[in-house]
Amino acid sequence: MRRGLKLGWPVIMGYLPIGLAYGVIARQNGLGSAETVVMSVLVYAGSSQLMAAGMLGAGSSPGAVLATTFLVNSRHLLMSAALSPRLARVPRKWLPVLAFGITDESFALVTASQPEPWPVYGWLFFFTYLGWVGSSAAGALVGGLAGAALGRALEFALAAMFIGLLVPQVTRASRAAAALASALAALGLSRVFPGHAGLLAAILVGATVGLVMDR
């Protein structure tokens, strides 16, 4: 349990500004505080929640919200697949529970660290989930109390965390090629599709380039 908390705390700190931002934005878009928190409890995917809050505020149809959510979160297909070697020893009844905890950040943390016994992953996912729900609840309740400059700086915590997780992944040339191809594809696609909608395609391109370079 303590090991899970120790491993997970950079992710919890990274969720804090995003969760706060989500809570504030959801309230500004007319969601009630209960609705704002329930979405974090049940969906647990920050970028899609931000997008859905905006769409609900703009009066989009439920079908459009659901289709966008699926598109934005389809990237978890690949993360779930890539995590399967690490989660092979999880008992069958716990696997559906742990799978709920797969996020960009928890996935990155697990693949970047040494293999751990599966309960460590269980606690890690549990604490990061609590971090997300807690920070979005705080955002829904208190709004923007942090100073503007510090708030903007905290928005960069996520990027810095991705950097810290990416560096140990680049252990050979083919992985560097995968990262480079994926970054270029994501940049190009982000100009056409908003948010994370193009991410699945970018990751597919990057991993394929990596495999080709690996031969």
């Binding site: 979405m39 979160n73 779930s80 709920f100 990155a108 560096v167 990262a179 982000s190 970018a202 495999l211």
Partner: protein, 102 residues
């Protein structure tokens, strides 16, 4: 809580959970052929780079480009030499905070 909003949230929960659980549920039961396993080995680096690049180099409404690039370079140097995630995040945020003030 409004009923129709709850239904939308429940639907979002479903379409988000299925892509999370399905691959891991199937792939922890079957053995993948070598090429597929090697392809999956490249997914983490690709996924992180795809998440990162638009944050640093894409159009962002709040933070301008130069502080983001500077802060990313410092975080990269710390990650490369210290291999410490917490230190990397702290360094990146600190540089971003200072860069906005000058």
């Amino acid at each position: 809580m409004r009923g129709h909003v709850f239904l939308v949230i429940a639907g979002m929960a479903l379409v988000t959970y299925v892509p999370r659980v399905l691959p891991v549920a199937v792939l922890t039961r079957v053995r993948l052929p070598g090429a597929a396993a090697r392809w999956l080995e490249h997914v983490p680096a690709a996924a992180l780079a795809a998440l990162l690049a638009p944050l640093v180099l894409g159009d962002q409404p709040v933070l301008s480009l130069a502080p983001r690039v500077l802060s990313a370079l410092v975080a990269l140097a710390v990650a490369r030499w210290k291999r410490d995630l917490t230190l990397t995040v702290v360094a990146g945020v600190l540089v971003m905070y200072l860069a906005q003030r000058f």
